[in-house]
Each structure stands twice: as C-alpha cells, then as structure tokens.
Amino acid sequence: MLDVGRHPNINLMAYSEVEKVEGSAGCFKVRVRRKARYVDEDKCTGCGACREKCPTDVLDLYNEGHSTRKAIYSWFAQGIPSTHTIDPDHCRVLQGKKCGICQKKCEAGAIDFEQKDTIVDLEIGAIIAANGYTIFDPGKIAEYRYNDLPNVVTAVEFERFLSASGPTHGHIDRPSDIAVRMKIEELAKEENKLLKMLARFEEKHGKKTAEFYKTYTPGETDPEMVQWASRYEEYLPVKNRLLELQKKAETFTTAKRLAFIQCVGSRDLRYYPFCSSYCCMHSIKEAIIAHEHENATTSVIFGMDIRAVGKGFDEYKVRGGNKSNISYRRSRVAEIINGPNDNPVLVYEDTQKQIVKREEFDLVILATACAPAQGMKELSKILDIEINRFGFFKTSPENPLDTTREGIFVCGCAHSPMDIPESVAQASSAASRAVQTVTVTPEKLLKIS
C-alpha cells in the first residue's frame, strides 16, 4: 500500500466514486466524485491530535463494531493516504451543533468544515474494476442465530479479535464476557455516583447510611430522610448486581473451545450457490493463530469439504490438525442454540453413528460467503458491463480479465471469489491487459488501415 501511495505514476483517489464513464477503449472520459473529507489532504499529516480530543464516539466498523472510533478518524492505523476524515453523520459541527475542538487542536490547520465534494474529469485509456466483495450477512440464516447469540461471530470479527491492534488486543475474549465487563464498568460508575450522594447525607447527619436505614420507617415525613432512604434503596440493587457480575467475571477466561462453521451463505441454494474459495484456509489460519496465542485452544472445523486448494495449502491443513489441535468434521451444522454460560451449542449429525449430536463451545466462528460487492449493479450500469449469473462481472474463459466492454477489465473478487495469491496474479494480468489496450502495435495499425 505504501509503495502504491508513493509511486510517482499513481494518482491515488481514496474516498472517491466513479459517477460516469463515456467514450471507448483508449479514450474514456471518467467523472469521479471526490467526497468531502472536511480535512485538507495536503495539510493533514495524520498525527491524530484531532482524533484524541474529539468528543464523539462512533462504532468502529473497521473493528466490526466491537470498539469505538471518533467522529474524526482514519479507517485504520496504516491506511494510505494517512489523512483523517470527518464522519459527517456524527460530527457535532456538521450536525449543526457546537464543537470544533478538532479545528482548534489541528496545528497543521487542515480541518475545513466548509469543504464540498469535488468533481474530477479524467481522460483514461483503460479501466480495471477491482471493487472486491461484501461479506454475507449471516443474520439471514435463522438457524444460526447470529443476531441473538453473543458468542457467534463472523470470521472477520474473529480476525479483529485475533489482531494485536484489535478490540481485545489479540486476546480471544468472548463478546458475552466483554458485554458483562462493560456492564460492570457502567454499574461501577453508577455505584460511585450514588455512593457520593449517600456520603453527602452521611456527612450532614453524622451517621452511616446503613445505621440510618435500620431505624428508618416507611411512614417517615421528613423529605430529606425520604430522599436519603430512596437513594439507598436505589443503591442496594446496583451494589448487589455489581457484586454478582464481578463474581461472575472472576470466572471468565478467554475462549478455548472454538467451532468454525464453513459455507455460511455459500454452497447454499438459498443464498449463494458458489464456493467462496478462501474461507477454508481462512478458518484454518484463524484456528492456528488462536492456538499460537493460547496453547490450550482446540478448534473444530465443520465443513462439507475442506478446500485447501493452493500451493502448500493442504500441507498447512494437515499441519493445523497435527500441531494446532484442529479437528475437521465433515458435517453441515443444523442449528446453534444457547447453552449455559452463553456457550453456543451446535446441533449436527454424526453421520457414521447416524445420531444427532449436541456439542458445546466457547465461541463459534461463521465462515461467511464472499458475496458480490454492494453497488455491483450500479457500477455495472456506470461502466456499461454485464454481470454473470452469480452476481460478479462477466468474463469469458478465453479472456478471463476482459469484461463485456472493450477496455474495461476486472480482477480479484469482483471477478469471482478467490484468495490473495490468485487476486495478486489476476491484478498483474489486468494491468497487462490495460497496457495492451493503450499500446500501439503493428498488428493494431494493420487492423485500422
């Protein structure tokens, strides 16, 4: 990314969208909308002083909503360009309220609340669509209860949990436990507030609250005493709930029994019939890393086939089984139900014994499908290219990078689901097709004349 950002021949237009494409191969006219960042890219040095002081917390979608970011943010730490952006939906100033702290904090003078979208018209020889994919929403599969069970997460959420810079700093804390810890924090704050109030009464009347309450009778008429008592009555359940949760939290450990469910949304006629290609390896990789973090971790990968198709992949799969406590179970999980302690319980068939089994895990990871990117249809209209039966851009086996319009090429998961090395190789091929479009060769000259 850094190399691309620094390359003299690459004009990187992040936070921008293509709106119109006219012309033909070799001489396209492309209109690009550069969305207002409310931050001057040339002035911003990416120092992050604005972010530190911004008072508005927003769910951080880079961390799949498991942490918060500020209304002025950079998508992730190493992002290129390193400039920040103001989220207009949440920024106080852009929502018409008072704030402007970031502007005061920015020593580079880069904040510009008046910034508007700009339109750029470009003359382009060839176009490559590399607009990627969307992660399938597993909430659509009712039997997996993704929206209800806290300890059922997607593979990408789990990726963030495993990351040292992620919401749990690389520890595999369970979402249900994180929620309890957050609740404890919240209750502790409330308790503190109530204790302060009670302390004021105690100071005024020179009596401990507990002593006062022993002698307090409900018929009391002194409003001050009634208030003291009611505060105490408010305090008691908070304290008890807090003690209860704290006790519960003492037993929390990181997730050690992991289950991975493959083909969530893929190879499923209800959603996407295709195989998403990379998820088997992704699950194996996540299971191996989880085991590296914590040697007591065991993982079960539930799948129809384990498609370790790629150089060194099958070897990696076998190694995961031998050295990283991974077992591979050939089964399509029928249902996930909630077990004790928020442990998800998988219901599946042991085909060999021909019985239905229930197995409890600490955390379940769903290997979600590689769905066609959002906005695929709109983009196909703008580019005037066709979409295939699976929802990806249409190509032919003879010319696997060429879309249905000359001079427009496709690579990566906009072409079909694929893994990193495939995408990289395809990207190089798309580049060579693009160069061929703009290169004049004797054969082309012959054709014209």
Binding site: C47, S277, D305, K311, P400, L401, S416, Q436, T441
Partner: protein, 557 residues
C-alpha cells in the same frame, strides 16, 4: 565505487531536525531539550525543532538550512525510515546535498511510543538516539545511484498456454519476445486434452493462440528448441538457444519460466494398467479420439497425491473428473459414473456450479476414507465410505485415476540454468507465496503456469498475462536505477573463502577464478548485509553500514 573526495579538507557541517510529529513525539518527550542538546553535539552547526518535519514547511526548512548553513550532513529524528526516509533523502538531494549523506533517527516508534508516560526516560533516550545518528552521519560517504541498461526483449521458456499467453501479452505491450518450446508443436498439455470446462476444444483453443503468437511481429517463436545457457542479470541476460537450425545467441532483459508440469502416470498405482484402469489424462485421449467405451465408470480422486510421499493437492483434478464425468454422462446417459473423493475441490463460482450440475445429471459422489483407500480389483472397486462408516463395493468396467500434475523431470535443468529455487515437490518457488506469486526472488526472472503449482488453463492464461505487466514495469523504463546501498568486497583482503557466496540470497556474488576473490554484482545486490556479517576477513562491507559507521554509532551510546 566513488571514494569520498577531500576527506580531510571538508569540514563537517551537520544539521539536525527534531520532529514533534504533532503530539506523537512532543507529547511524550521534551523535543525542545533534545534540540538544544543536539546543537551541542560535535559537528552540528544547526539544530531545529519542527512541528512536522515531513510537512511542506518542514521540508522547506531543511532545504533552506542546507543552502544557508552549507550543511553537508542532515539528520532527521522523527518516525520510521520505512515510510519517510525516501522523502527526506530526495528533499536533501533537491537542495544540492548528496542523498546518501542523510541519516534518519526513529524517536517515535522506537522511543516516544514505547515509553509513553515516562517523559524523562524518553527524552534521555531520544538524546542518545540523536547522538548516535549524528555520530553515524559524520562517517557517511557520498554515493551515486547505480544505473544499468535494459534490453527490451524477453525470453519465454515453454510454449504451453501460460508461455503463449505471456508472449501474446508482452508483444501486445510492444515488447520483443523469444518464445522457446522444447517439443515440435506449441500447446503443451492442452494438446492432449479433450474439451475444456466451457465445452470448447482445448486443442483448438491453444492452436488458435499459437497461430496468433507465431504470426505476431516481435515474437520469435521457436519449436523443437532448448535454452542451453543463461548468464548475466536483470536487463542484460545472455542466452544461448539450441534450435534445429543451429545455435542462437541473444540478449534479453527478462526471462519467463513457463515450463509446465506433467500428469503422474505410475504403473501399478491403484492397479493402473493403461487398459481398464487408466488416468484422467488417458481418459481425455480416449474421449478425444472416440475410443472411450464403458458402461460403469468409477473415478478415484487423490491417487498419488495428498499422501505421505506427495503431500500437496494438485488443485485441478477434481474439476477434471467432474468435467469428464459430465462429458461421459452427456454422451451416454445410461452410463453409471461414480466419483470417489476425499474433498471435492470445486472452488469458486463456475466449478461449484459444475458440481451442482453434475449431481443433477445423476453422477454419484462418495467420500472415501484416506486411511482405508479404495481397492481396485477386477471388475469392482471396494472402499470404506467415510460419511456412512460402511464398506461399499461398486462394480465397474473402467476405473479412472485422478493423478496429480507433478514437476517435470527436466525442471532441475531449467532451474540450474538460472539458479532459481524449487520447493520440495520440484515446483518452482516464487518470491512470496501471497504477494509476489509470479516473481522469483532473483530480479528479472518470472514464473507462470503449472511450473509453479498446478493450475487450470484459465489460471495459466491469467498468470501468463500477469508476468507481462511485471516485466513491463521494469522494461518500460529507460534504464535500471537502484540504490547505492549495496555490498562491496575489497579484492586486496578477500581470501576467496566463498563464505559470502553461500549466504547471498540473491546470487549477487560470484567467485573470480582468475583473481581468486569474490566479487559483487552491484545490480543484483539488495543490500541485505549477509555477506558483510559473514566475511571472516572483513573484506565484504555494506555501503552506508560499514563497520566504522556502525561503530561510530555504537561508541556514541
């Protein structure tokens, strides 16, 4: 290499710039004291604190200071050299200072960020780091970039679908190509295949491509020819090719290895006899020439693959089995076709759809247990069903074994020509499994198709076209320019032990038999320093990191 001129007469004038990085550095250590301290260091004539040294104003200050204070060394203490060294060094060059006299100190990632909340300690450490940087800078020597010419011609080894696609794309980009095929005809494995997944004739498709390549101007297409020798390096390889018409010598700038792979045929494996127990490749031939005849076919996957001796999955055989099953079933709807598999590797959209369609056509798929593989005997296949846990038996009159593609027996010869690495399965080893799948670690040499790892014809074609742009990025430039931070070997002190030769990962060192010393090919050297740290006589050094330069830094601690 250029020696520092006027070493004794030149007076050192070091300028030090301390970056606050907003609050990233200044928030955790006292940049003002560090700047004041820097100005007291020997050789330092100018020290300045910047809010952001990398901002336009910061760069401007460096450039002005170089001119006004006649600085001949610049030290910036800020963030990571990985991200900012090129910017600062080139800015110094713009102001007239040799960019190799620039030194960078990381007081953010390696100081303020790791000692947050310990202001005194962080400040003291920053001072130490700056002192070390300044000490090193005083020993730096000016260098000039290494330049080399480029021959805009490419040698492609192998005329299968990958090599043909590479040649087509390279010529389409306006580059000259020499395409060398060992066999009499272009086309490789595709010539032996029947139909492709799409239903098109494999031979026809590759034939059309070969015809196009042979008539494209700029492509010298050689069949029945063999590359016999390759010397030189990126931009300037000398190659010798033996052709039926005699030996050809040529100069090329880059090389593409597209030498392919071959299907495993092993007599006796699962009862293979070439008659009623055959491989998928043999089935392709029978389907193609019309000699296929069978009513009950059993196909067995992963024969000779994914086992102790050959651990890898050959990627393409499941799709081949499904494709051929469907061809049989389409032609002979009453034929029974059973596929015994371990995992159906029908990755992606089109292949998985084929699997759905094949099931719909009545082709049966059953999982076998690899611990108890199918046993082929006369007229039947017995296997243990891994899902049902039962032993099953299928009568059949033809058994088709899906064997893997394996490395060509002559692959080591090709590897030896360029000294390129192979993996334990004999396939060529790319520079980076994920991010550089088409490159070799050695500059100017690329790989595509099944020579790297088994691929489908579409993937081979994609990769062939892919190497073309990798090469274009090199050969479209006027010349090769690279950093001067490379190794050099002192011919006077080198004893010719060749220790460096063995640790050089880029093949940049060679042994000169006339002078009995080792020599560095600067254009190939990547400046890793392995040789410098290995050399027992301290003859190998890395420019910019010479012992005296590093010692100056260490002594300043």
């Amino acid at each position: 290499m250029k020696k520092k001129s006027g070493e004794n007469t030149e007076q050192l004038r070091v300028g030090v710039f301390i970056c606050d990085c907003g609050s990233n550095i200044a928030g955790h250590l006292d940049c003002k004291s560090v700047t004041e301290y820097a100005s007291t260091l020997p050789g330092v004539v100018y020290a300045k604190e910047n809010l952001y040294t990398c901002s336009e104003s910061g760069i401007g200050e460096i450039q002005n200071a170089i001119k006004e204070n006649k600085l001949n060394r610049v030290v910036v203490a800020s963030c990571s050299p990985r991200t900012h060294h090129p910017l600062f060094a080139s800015s110094c060059a713009q102001a007239g200072m040799n960019p190799y006299l620039f030194e960078m100190v990381n007081i953010r990632d390696q100081c303020s960020w790791v000692h947050m909340g310990k202001r005194d300690i962080a400040t003291a450490k920053a001072m130490d780091l700056v002192r070390m940087g300044v000490a090193k800078s005083t020993t730096l020597e000016p260098q000039s970039e290494i330049e080399s010419s480029l021959v805009r011609k490419i040698l492609v080894i192998g005329g299968g679908i990958a090599g043909l696609s590479a040649a087509e794309a390279l010529a389409g980009m306006g580059l000259e190509v020499i395409l060398v095929e060992k066999e009499e005809k272009f086309g490789g494995l595709m010539l032996d295949l029947n139909l492709l997944d799409s239903g098109a004739s494999a031979e026809q498709q590759v034939f059309e491509l070969a015809a196009k390549v042979m008539t494209t101007s700029g492509i010298t297409a050689l069949t029945a020819s063999k590359v016999t020798q390759i010397t030189g390096y990126i931009g300037n390889f000398q190659v010798a090719i033996a052709t039926p018409g005699g030996k050809i010598d040529a100069k090329v700038g880059c090389i593409v290895v597209a030498s392919g792979a071959i299907p495993l045929i092993q007599e006796g494996l699962f009862g293979h006899n070439g008659k009623n127990v055959i491989t998928q490749m043999e089935l392709e031939k029978r389907l193609k020439d019309g000699s296929f005849k069978a009513g009950r076919v059993v196909m067995i996957q992963c024969v000779g693959a994914r086992n102790q001796t050959r651990e890898y999955c050959s990627r393409i055989c499941c799709a081949t089995a499904v494709k051929n099953s469907m061809i049989i079933k389409r032609k002979y709807p009453l034929a029974g076709v059973h596929v015994l598999y371990r995992d159906m590797q029908m990755y992606g959209d089109v292949k998985e759809q084929m699997l759905w369609d094949a099931r719909g056509m009545g082709i049966q798929f059953d999982v076998y247990d690899p611990k108890r593989p199918p046993v082929v005997s006369d007229g039947k296949v017995v296997f243990h069903h891994a899902v049902l846990g039962e032993t099953k038996e299928f009568p059949c009159d033809l058994v088709v074994l899906s064997t893997p593609l394996v490395a060509r027996p002559d692959a080591p010869e090709v590897a030896a020509l360029m000294r390129i690495p192979s993996d334990k399965n004999g396939f060529f080893l790319e520079a980076h499994a994920k991010l550089r799948p088409l490159d070799f670690a050695a500059d100017g040499i690329f790989v595509c198709g099944s020579a790297r790892y088994p691929v489908t014809s579409i993937e081979a074609r994609t990769q062939g076209m892919g190497v073309a742009s990798r090469i274009g990025a090199i050969l479209f430039k006027d010349k090769l320019v690279k950093s001067s931070i490379v190794a050099e070997i002192d011919a006077e002190t080198c004893v010719g032990c060749m220790g460096c030769l063995n640790v050089c990962p880029y093949d940049a060192i060679s042994f000169n038999r006339q002078t009995n010393v080792c020599e560095v090919k600067e254009i190939l050297c990547k400046g890793c320093g392995n040789c410098a740290s290995t050399c027992p006589s301290h003859s190998a050094i890395l420019r910019g990191y010479k012992p005296e330069q590093l010692l100056a830094q260490i002594r300043a601690i």
